[in-house]
């Protein structure tokens, strides 16, 4: 039996080239998107794994915000005695300025001791050992710094109190902190030069890192475990290379997971095309199916025939799609190159490709379910009574339910998470139903509308209700694609406005860090003299959490946390910037407890805590915290929990203490000021020249760096969404092709009755334009809903709305629908009526 089915499958395919081509294109695009995303994800994963030691800087890394305690030094000495190599690195931000007192730039400073790097290669121009280049007050800098200050190798620059000679340019740095946004270009300098600069003073934020390369025989995991036992201070973080960059890993895994859903969307849109083309194919084959049944072919054989046919085509399409997915890798990796601290190599994995192919085959099988149910329903007696329409089958709940369940299962598999997959399935169903309702509404409206005046309008509107219902399919397929692309544009807009410095009138131009108490008056005068607004000074006291409700924060407590709640650990061990205030900062929202009265604030040690910190630390009003401020314990009682808008671009704090709590504590000041755009450089340069210890963080600069990162991500998402648009176009072309013979007959009859070709073309234009408009309206409305939901629940950002992407999306959809429609049907306009009528 199966041999018969195979033979029939091969032969019956002859009559369906056009339909099977549409199926092919849809599956190829869907699988292509999945392979593109999967291969990118696998490449990120494997590159991260391969580069893990280089990224961490060693087999094991110690990291602290203060110089290492004695027990850590002793443990390191033991390691060195057993053959380990140890490199110490200090990292901090500072200002680099030219000798002439001209420009200044915020830079990321790094001072490695000899032996750096332990893994990976530091590439410099000229190529020379780093120690040699840094010797005798040398500096090696990123090219960006030279460009911005107008300097060249051999020139001198000033950092803090030190004057350094630029000896080379750093081209690749293996363990450049893999945070997505960097504050400024890198400057390498020797430990001695850093001492001369005088920046490592009280209150400055230095990251102390110790990189360890273990001798053979010592495992990284064991060493990590031993170090955590030996070092009591939980503020010293110990990491082994296999857990390097958890943040970066999480970011990339989330990015590929979301991209995967966009890829899945293109496969599902392709599924509509599969269903449409197979449905049209089967409809054409009905007489043959009836004849075969009359000749004694069993329904089983016939269904097997079409399953074999569609699966073979889907398999070929999947293979071509996999090739397509691999072919776009260079474009995708180029888009993300700026986000990744190493060369990203796409990794074609059999598992990723195989999975995408299985997805393609399964989607094809599910989407051909209903059309193939129609094969079962074709009665053999159709050959005798062709005037009777067989009852339509294959649209009932019993057919559609397994299809829906199957597709949902595929979505869950792709998402890899019940929650994300479930949200995706729910959102897809909602979008599908909304677009279907819109299409139905459009056809119903076309029916109810008063008779249109123009012939073209009348016929174009009538064509929307053509039997066979191509309108819903076109509206759904194009609508989903439009929704994805417009969502990306809207999100870009929301985030863009959020970080568009020009629009944030309330935001300061600069954060000046580390202003010392005795510099405050001079600083204020200088800022105002140079065109800035009167600076706002906020005191900052650096501290660590020592105890919660009397329980000491020990490594044991923190490690126990680590198992459950990675973020929670950070709240116990991080270095906090505390501030004090008499009155609540502007815009404070208390979610629990109260704020102190001025009298209470000056009498008692009280604290207000940010709500996420309260949640992770497990404290509430009435709880007691102990801070360690340079070795001095400060006890406070929490009186209130605040909600903080972290995106408000002002100085925000996890803890605000009462003035009494921090009386006498060593404080530095953060100064914020706003200055006209053209005076920004002058203000920064004047401050840096007068106060070499002060670091200026220009907000415009930082926001532009964030915008560049977002831009890169948007390019990647848009690229994957283009697959969906491609599938949408194929669906529309397929749906129009399916109505080709009716369309031909109608146009010929119209022309026989005296209509011009122009009139027929105009009627087509009305039909295609309205289809495009419906898809455009539906897609953009859904995009607005989706973008709002993402902004509200995923990005946790304030919503803002600009209709421009919607208008562009709508216009582009109408244009696209017209273009696709005419490409598919323009040849009908040239057909001579008589031969067509004779054939009917």
């Amino acid at each position: 039996m199966s041999r018969v089915a195979l033979r029939l499958a091969r032969r019956q395919a002859r009559g369906g080239r056009r339909h099977l081509t549409a199926l092919f294109a849809c599956v190829a695009l869907g699988v292509g998107a999945l392979v593109a995303v999967g291969t990118l994800g696998a490449g990120l994963e494997s590159t991260l794994a391969r580069e893990a030691k280089a990224l961490l800087g060693g087999d094991v890394e110690l990291r602290a915000a203060r110089p290492l305690p004695d027990d850590a030094e002793a443990a390191l000495a033991r390691l060195e005695r057993s053959g380990a190599r140890v490199v110490r690195v200090r990292e901090l931000v500072g200002m680099a300025r030219t000798m002439a007192g001209g420009g200044s730039v915020l830079v990321e400073l790094k001072t490695p001791t000899a032996g750096y790097p332990l893994y990976g290669a530091l590439s410099t121009a000229p190529a020379a050992p780093l120690a040699t280049l840094l010797d005798d007050e040398g500096a090696v800098v990123q090219r960006e710094l030279l460009d911005r200050l107008g300097l060249a190798v051999g020139d001198r620059l000033t950092i803090g109190e030190a004057t350094l000679t630029i000896r080379g340019v750093v081209e690749a740095e293996p363990d450049r902190a893999a945070s997505l946004v960097r504050l400024g270009p890198r400057v390498f300098l020797s430990p001695a030069a850093l001492e001369h600069a005088g920046l490592v003073a009280f209150g400055s934020r230095v990251r102390y890192r110790v990189l360890v390369r273990l001798p053979p025989g010592l495992a990284a995991g064991d060493t990590r475990a031993r170090l955590t036992r030996d070092i009591a201070d939980p503020g010293v973080r110990v990491a082994a290379y296999d857990e390097a960059q958890p943040g970066l890993r999480r970011f990339f895994s989330q990015l590929t997971s979301y991209l995967g859903l966009v890829g899945l969307a293109s496969l599902l849109v392709g599924g509509i095309g599969v269903a449409t083309s197979v449905s049209a194919f089967v409809a054409r084959q009905v007489p043959s199916i009836a004849a075969l049944k009359a000749l004694g072919a069993e329904t089983r054989t016939l269904v097997a025939t079409y399953v074999i046919q569609t699966q073979v085509v889907a398999l070929l399409a999947s293979l071509v799609g996999a090739g397509l997915g691999l072919a776009v890798q260079p474009v995708l990796t180029a888009a993300l190159a700026g986000l990744v601290p190493f060369a990203l190599e796409p990794k074609p994995e059999p598992w990723t490709i195989g999975r995408a192919i299985v997805m393609g085959l399964a989607t094809t099988l599910l989407c051909t379910w209903a059309p193939l149910a129609a094969v079962r329903a074709v009665p053999a007696w159709l050959l005798l009574r062709r005037d009777v329409e067989p009852a339509a089958r294959g649209r009932g709940v019993r057919t559609l339910l397994p299809v829906t369940v199957g597709l949902a299962a595929l979505a869950l598999w792709q998402a890899g998470s019940l929650k994300i997959g479930g949200i995706f399935v729910g959102a897809s169903l909602a979008a599908l139903l909304a677009l279907l309702a819109l299409a139905r509404g459009l056809t119903a409206l076309a029916r109810r509308l008063p008779r249109a005046r123009g012939l073209a309008w009348r016929h174009g509107l009538a064509a929307l209700q053509r039997p066979g219902g191509h309108a819903p399919r076109v509206v759904v397929a194009l609508g989903v694609a439009v929704m994805l692309l417009v969502t990306v544009a809207l999100l870009e807009g929301v985030l863009g406005r959020q970080i568009d410095y020009e629009q944030r009138r309330e935001a300061p131009s600069f954060f000046f860090l580390d202003v010392q108490t005795d510099q405050v008056e001079d600083f204020a005068r200088l800022a105002e003299r140079t065109g800035g607004s009167r600076p706002v000074f906020t005191p900052v006291v650096r501290a660590r959490l020592a105890a919660v409700d009397g329980a000491r924060v020990t490594r044991e407590v923190v490690e126990r946390r680590r198992a459950r709640d990675e973020d929670g650990r950070w709240f116990f061990t991080r270095e906090y910037a505390l501030t004090w205030a008499e009155a609540p900062p502007a815009g404070t929202v208390l979610t629990a407890g109260t704020w102190w009265t001025p009298a209470q604030g000056h009498a008692r040690a009280l604290a207000s805590i940010e709500e996420s910190a309260a949640r992770h630390l497990g404290v509430r009003p009435g709880s007691r915290l102990t801070f360690d401020v340079q070795g001095v314990a400060i006890d406070v009682e929490i009186t209130g929990v605040r909600r903080v808008d972290w995106q408000n671009l002002t100085t925000n704090f996890f803890f605000v203490l009462s003035p009494a709590a921090l009386a006498g504590a060593p404080a530095t000041w953060v100064a914020t000021t706003r200055v006209a755009g053209e005076r920004e450089a002058a203000l920064q340069n004047a401050v840096v020249a007068a106060f070499p210890n002060v670091t200026a963080i220009p907000l415009r600069d930082v926001l532009e760096r964030v915008a560049a990162v977002l831009g890169d991500i948007a390019v990647a998402v848009r690229l994957v969404a283009l697959f969906t648009l491609g599938a949408g176009v194929v669906v529309m072309a397929g749906a129009l092709a399916a109505t080709r013979s009716q369309r031909l007959y109608e146009s010929v009859v119209l022309r026989t009755l005296g209509a011009t070709r122009g009139l027929v073309a105009r009627a087509f234009a009305v039909e295609y334009g309205l289809l495009g408009a419906a898809a455009g309206v539906g897609g953009t409305v859904l995009a607005t809903v989706l973008a709002w939901a993402v902004v509200r629940w995923v990005l946790d950002a304030p919503w803002s709305f600009d209709p421009t992407p919607l208008l562009i999306g709508l216009a582009a959809t109408v244009a696209l629908a017209l273009a696709v429609g005419f490409l598919v049907t323009f040849r009908l306009l040239g057909q001579k009526p008589l031969p067509v009528l004779r054939r009917e």
Binding site: A291, P379, W381
Partner: protein, 225 residues
Amino acid sequence: MMIRVRDLVMRLESGGRPVTILDGVSLDVAAGEVVAVTGPSGSGKSTLLGLIAGLDTPSGGSIAVDGVDVTALGEAELARFRRRTIGFVFQSYHLIPTLTAAENVAVPLELASAAEPLPTAARLLGEVGLAERAHHYPAQLSGGEQQRVAIARAVALSPPLLLADEPTGNLDSTTGGAIVDLLLALNRERGSTLLLVTHDAALAGRAARAVALRDGRVVNGHHRA
């Protein structure tokens, strides 16, 4: 008895109201007999033929073909029954447009897993005078040629019962005559039973017996010498 039809009733819905197409038809056809069913358009001839072939289920009555109760068979059994017992020739040929003439003839052979279906099909096409046209598609054949292919397909498995529904209905009289000659000759050679539906009196006249239907009832059935 090859065919034994008793009190056959067929009602259908048409435009929302029931229409009786066959109203108590009884008919016996002996093995090897050639019988014509005649009657005006709409008298139920084709429906009778289709019900005998098991292409549809009657509203009432019984049909036995070669001793098999056709109305009692399930979908898969019916398919096997048609394959083994019945050859069908349609007015509009119903060749499969995507298959060549030889492949069309080969379909029943392949469904029955016969050995060497395509060489057999080529031989059968030779028997109907189309040896040269084996690799042509239906669209490349004339009406008469298409009907010959359909006849070759119908007799491919030498079924004991041949059913022909207006086999000459779409053909001019010369071609139609040739087709009838072919059908009768093949039937004679194979010793099968032939039941043909026609409203062409000349064609009906060449059968051994004619049964006339009107409004779904048998109005007469007489033997000729």
